[in-house]
Amino acid sequence: MIQLTSLPIDIEAVIDCVKAPETGAVDVFIGTTRDQTAGRKVTALEYETYEPMALKVMERVAGEAGGRWSLGRIAIVHRIGRLNVGEASVIIAVSSAHRAEAFEACRFLIDKLKQEVPIWKREFFADGSVEWSGQTPESAPARGGL
């Protein structure tokens, strides 16, 4: 289950989708939107995506995890569009026969998602300003290019 959705994420449905009678362990990571960034109060958030590429990259990283660990099923669901503070923005669920593999794969997947998947967060601050999150040219390490 690899999905982008503009509706609230049904966490229980995602977990149910990875459960299987032969896999006794499920690890789940849930990212929720925070009420502040660097001390500034956030009132709402918006996620934009490059949908076909995001789905491709999510499928690829799920495939990489399946190659590295012996897993049951993997679910990655990311919320898109406008969110309130405290809502789940992402859920990753992984089942496996042994818990170490579920934990390691789940952590690998959220790390990869945050590095690779083309999704961008915009925060709406209480002072009225709206900003894209993350690196700016000033904060970013050089990556080549221009």
């Binding site: 990212g31 996620y47 934009e48 995506t49 490059y50 076909p52 590429m53 995001a54 491709k56 990311h78 923005s89 992402v90 959220i110 998602l113 945050k114 590095q115 690779e116 998947v117 083309p118 999704i119 961008w120 967060k121 915009r122 894209w132 999150s133 993350g134 690196q135 700016t136 040219p137 970013a140 390490p141 050089a142 990556r143 080549g144 290019g145 221009l146």
Partner: protein
């Protein structure tokens, strides 16, 4: 050749458009797309080092050779999760 250029997040805001067909010389590279954008708006030069490029929904390096009809996306630093 013509490519389909797609911009997202801060790149879209800087350029003022989300999607456009643009003409490039034959044998252009993905990196040339960023140079093209820097001509439109000099702020792209500052961002250049942290924008990544994707051709047909796969990340590529700046030297990647483009083909006619490619979908070329400018990917600012991602912040999902």
């Amino acid at each position: 050749m013509t490519i389909r250029l797609r911009l997202f997040a801060v790149a879209k805001d800087l350029a003022g458009f989300h999607e456009k067909h643009i003409e490039l010389p034959d044998a252009s590279t993905a990196g040339d797309v960023l140079a093209h954008l820097a001509n439109i708006d000099s702020r792209f030069s500052r961002w250049g080092s942290c924008m990544r490029l994707a051709v047909n929904q796969e990340y590529v390096g700046p030297d990647h050779k483009l083909c006619h009809d490619d979908e070329v996306a400018v990917i600012p630093p991602v912040s999902g999760g």
